[in-house]
């Protein structure tokens, strides 16, 4: 038998990209369960829609780009993008919202840039930002969690009803009955009320905020699992959450009637999902451990700034996209100190 001639190393760890992606999928499970528990079947339907359309778009793109279809479909990256997108949009958004979203994510944000590994922006966040700007009404109509409309989970739309809302979108009675503003929106468009008054008077905060806290806790669980399984490192999430907590504490301490308290910033909205699942996307974020910290700080600060003084209630997508732009620059200035060097190199290099 002819012996094969290969470069070292001759062994490798059974460690594959699809395994990494599978772990990420597994880590989104708590959030999916929490969303379904509090908001009904919507998220699950969105998830199926997003996954199907994303895989389809991925296959078409691979075919057009003359790449092996099965080989790349198996890596699971399209699925991860689809699921993050599906879990980020309102559970009862019309079906075409999520389909346009996966088209944007897979075709425009990923394959037009050269496919997996080459996209400068997080595909799910590109899609989310595009949807938010293009369809602000659909994208901000979250239905109320069951704790606000009834005693039990049964108060939510049943599965056929959910399907009807998403696919036909004509049942205004159902939609009007169930949709409402999210806590962040309420805090943003508060009229002349102080933070305290908002908390007291608006049921989504006074009674319903625990639904959002529960969902954030579920994302946190998934994130901790990923850190434990060494899929992601603690750097970016830790930096992002700390800076967000720090900034919101500072402002809240200075003027509690005008600014939301730090626990709202951490526990409501997309903070936890962004910290553990978006700010840790290896492709589009900074890569070295120090870089991840800088990246996380940037995202956390931008989220606070845009939430507080911008015109959108939540800011994760914009913060991530802005920091994606800065990631290559951060990478050049956050090299670790290599063995045997007194200090780390800085800058781009070249032109010695």
């Amino acid at each position: 038998m002819a012996l094969i001639h290969l470069s070292s190393p001759h062994v490798s760890k059974a460690n594959a990209t699809d395994r990494v992606m599978r772990l990420v999928l597994l880590a989104t499970l708590p959030a999916l369960l929490a969303l379904t528990f509090f908001f009904g079947w919507g998220s699950l339907i969105q998830l199926c829609l997003a996954a199907t359309s994303a895989l389809l778009f991925e296959a078409v793109c691979l075919r057009l780009r003359k790449r092996p279809i099965l080989f790349f479909l198996r890596d699971g990256s399209a699925l991860v993008t689809a699921i993050l997108l599906a879990l980020a949009i309102p559970p009862f958004a019309p079906w075409w919202v999520v389909v346009i979203g996966s088209f944007t994510a897979i075709v425009i944000a990923k394959h037009l840039y050269g496919g997996l590994g080459n996209n400068p922006f997080n595909p799910a966040m590109v899609a989310y930002a595009l949807l938010l700007i293009s369809f602000p009404v659909e994208m901000t109509q979250w239905n109320a969690p069951f704790v606000l409309i009834g005693d039990s989970w049964k108060a939510l739309a049943s599965f056929p009803e959910s399907l009807m809302i998403i696919f036909s979108g004509v049942n205004h009675h159902l939609i009007d009955a169930y949709t409402g503003a999210t806590p962040l929106e309420v805090l943003k468009h508060r009229g002349g009320m102080t933070t305290e008054e908002v908390w007291r008077n608006v049921p989504v905060l006074s009674d319903g905020v625990f639904a959002w806290y529960g969902i954030s806790a579920a994302w946190l669980m998934g994130g901790v699992f990923l850190i434990y399984r060494k899929v992601i490192t603690w750097h970016a999430p830790f930096a992002m959450i700390s800076i967000l907590f720090l900034l919101s504490s500072l402002f809240y301490a200075g003027d509690p009637s005008n600014f939301a308290d730090p626990f709202v910033h951490i526990g409501v909205g997309a903070t936890m999902m962004c910290a553990f699942f978006i700010a840790t996307d290896p492709v589009s974020c900074a890569t070295s451990n120090r870089g991840k910290i800088v990246f996380g700080i940037g995202v956390g600060a931008l989220i606070y700034i845009i939430r507080t003084w911008g015109s959108f209630p939540d800011a994760a997508a914009f913060a991530i996209l802005l920091m994606n732009l800065a990631a290559p620059f951060i990478d050049h200035y956050t090299q670790p100190r290599s063995y045997g060097h007194r200090r780390a190199n800085r800058g781009i290099g070249g032109g010695r």
Partner: protein, 565 residues
């Protein structure tokens, strides 16, 4: 107890060491032919001292070092030289290189051995010369000639001597077997090294997956009451890398681009220490070493005492290889070893392990997926590099950036490629980038030299041209001066005395010219008159005028002639 430090990153691949430790070291068969490459390490190849047809004895020096970084080669057995020339050798690219081939006679007849049992009384330089003459090179990995490292005491202060017994690569157990069976040889070797370097600390670094070797060494150290610290380090590849072991044991980093001796440390492998003992105390040059034969394509997986120059095929047969199952043949460990296509190549001084792997054991890696910069490589890199970034730079041929990210501090340990979930052959990319940069530098140097030469030539040509121009000018000036002088002389002569002969000639010519002109004019006039043309009167006047001038010229000539005669 010495404090233990740690190094960044590292991996823990399956050890696969058990299978070759079941039996003691076994003597490998004497092959019919021994192939001895003249170069078995970095530096210069040795120069042969023998010719084809010579008979040699076991231990006879057959090639001597040429230059500083070079090692002598000895006949591993007695026999005759049958060939000196190119042969396939262990090389990452499967190249051939000059070798001496010995046909063994089976007598194993030793040359007279020259032990130096009283080495402590000897001059250190003489002892180092003896070790150099024994052809000892580092048996751990790179095969660096040992005498150079032992000579470091002259211009460096060596505080710490580290004996590398980590043997961190999977599969390899050659050092482990040596430590279990011959701890005293190792300790005697260490004593000789310590005598030469006079370190204040001696540390042996050994991974905790070798309990038997640890026990053997510890007992031997205790029995001899030697001031040696045996430091057990956790099993984590690449703890046996020189720089990593130094960091583990001392917490010191060797600065990029410098050698351990610059921070007062010298590292030697346990195998090298035993070889030094044999060279000094027994007078035996380096002609054999311990090689681990392992891999699931072999029937007997164990350590062999092998003569340098023994072809792999002889060893594989002796270990009952199943060639139908052998898929990949590796010299060295699975992390840094080189794959071998031709099993006729010989064992050299740095061959610590031969792995005859089956397909299941070392399958071809699946096709590479795109890099998603997951950073797992960064977490395991023992040099604290950013392998993911280096990969992009190597792939994009952005070599300046690769250098800026300290590409040349990569030790090619393979930890990054081992953990890469996308199965990217990262080390191969780095080797490519390094060789491209080296080539580029060589090209640049060549270009710079060529430019210098060209500029020097241009300057020389310009200078010569200028000198020529100068000479030409000088000559022209001289010529002009000469001409002026001559002219002046001629004028002086003219003024003094007219040449009568020339004057006469002139007058004669003038007269004849006048005559010719007159004749032509007359002809023209005649012609005109015959044809009855206008303007004959003008012609007539001309003829008349010419007649007068011709007469005058004639007259002048006549007069002159008359005067002369």
């Amino acid at each position: 107890m010495t404090r233990l430090y740690s190094f960044h990153g590292g991996v823990h691949p399956p050890e696969n060491k058990r299978q070759s430790l079941g039996a003691p070291i076994r003597q490998a068969p004497l092959p019919a032919r021994l192939i001895l490459p003249l170069q078995q390490h970095i530096g210069k190849p040795a120069t042969p001292l023998v010719a084809v047809g010579d008979t040699v004895l076991k231990g006879q020096k057959i090639a001597e070092p040429s230059g500083h970084v070079s090692a002598a080669i000895h006949a591993p057995s007695s026999g005759s030289i049958t060939y000196i020339g190119l042969q396939p050798v262990p090389h990452a690219s499967g190249l051939e290189s000059p070798c001496i081939v010995i046909e063994t006679d089976g007598q194993e007849q030793w040359i007279e051995r020259q032990p130096l049992t009283d080495y402590q009384q000897l001059d250190k330089q003489a002892l180092i010369r003896h070790i150099r003459n024994a052809g000892i090179a580092g048996l751990g990995g790179a095969g660096f000639p040992t005498d150079i490292k032992l000579n470091l005491g002259r211009d460096h202060i060596v505080n710490t001597l580290i004996i590398n017994a980590a043997e961190c690569e999977p599969y390899i157990t050659a050092d482990d077997a040596l430590m279990r069976e011959r701890p005293d040889e190792i300790l005697s070797g260490i004593e000789i090294i310590a005598h030469l370097l006079q370190p204040s600390h001696i540390l042996i670094g050994i991974e905790d997956n070798k309990p038997n070797a640890i026990k053997a060494l510890r007992d031997a150290i205790r029995a001899r009451k030697l001031p040696i610290d045996l430091v057990v380090v956790p099993t984590r590849y690449p703890s046996g890398g020189e720089k990593q072991l130094i960091q583990l044991l001392t917490g010191i980093e060797v600065a990029s681009g410098s050698i351990p001796a610059d921070v007062g440390i010298v590292c030697q492998n346990v195998g090298t220490a035993a070889a030094i003992y044999r060279a000094v105390i027994l007078g035996e040059p380096l002609i054999s070493r311990i090689v681990t034969l392992t891999g699931f394509a072999l029937g007997h997986r164990q350590n062999y005492e092998v003569l340098i120059g023994t072809p792999f095929s002889v060893l594989l047969e002796s270990a009952e290889v199943d060639r139908s199952r052998m898929f990949r043949l590796v010299m060295g460990g699975p992390m840094m070893g080189i794959s071998i296509e031709d099993d006729r190549i010989p064992v050299i001084k740095t061959t610590n392990c031969i792995i005859a792997a089956t397909r299941e054991e070392m399958p071809p890696s699946p096709p590479a997926q795109p890099c998603i910069r997951c950073g797992m490589c960064e977490q395991v890199c023992p040099a604290s590099l950013l392998p993911q970034q280096l990969f992009w730079f190597a792939k994009g041929r952005e070599f300046d950036k690769a250098r800026h990210h300290n590409l040349f501090d990569c030790i090619e340990c393979g930890a990054c490629a081992y953990v890469c979930p996308s199965n990217i052959p990262l080390v191969q990319h780095y080797r490519f980038a390094k060789s491209e940069i080296r080539n580029e530098e060589a090209e640049q140097l060549k270009a710079a030299q060529a430019r210098e030469r060209f500029e020097a030539r241009q300057a020389r040509l310009a200078r010569e041209e200028q000198e020529k121009e100068q000479r030409r000018k000088e000559r022209a000036e001289a010529a002009a001066r000469e001409q002026a002088r001559k002219k002046a002389e001629a004028e002086q002569a003219d003024a003094g005395e007219q040449d009568p002969e020339a004057e006469l000639k002139k007058l004669k010519t003038a007269a004849s010219i006048a005559r010719t002109k007159l004749k032509k004019a007359r002809d023209a006039l005649k012609n005109a008159q015959e044809k009855g043309l206008d303007g004959t009167d003008k012609l007539e006047a001309t003829v008349l005028q010419l007649e007068q001038s011709a007469q005058a010229a004639e007259q002048a000539w006549q007069n002159a002639t008359g005067v002369q005669h």
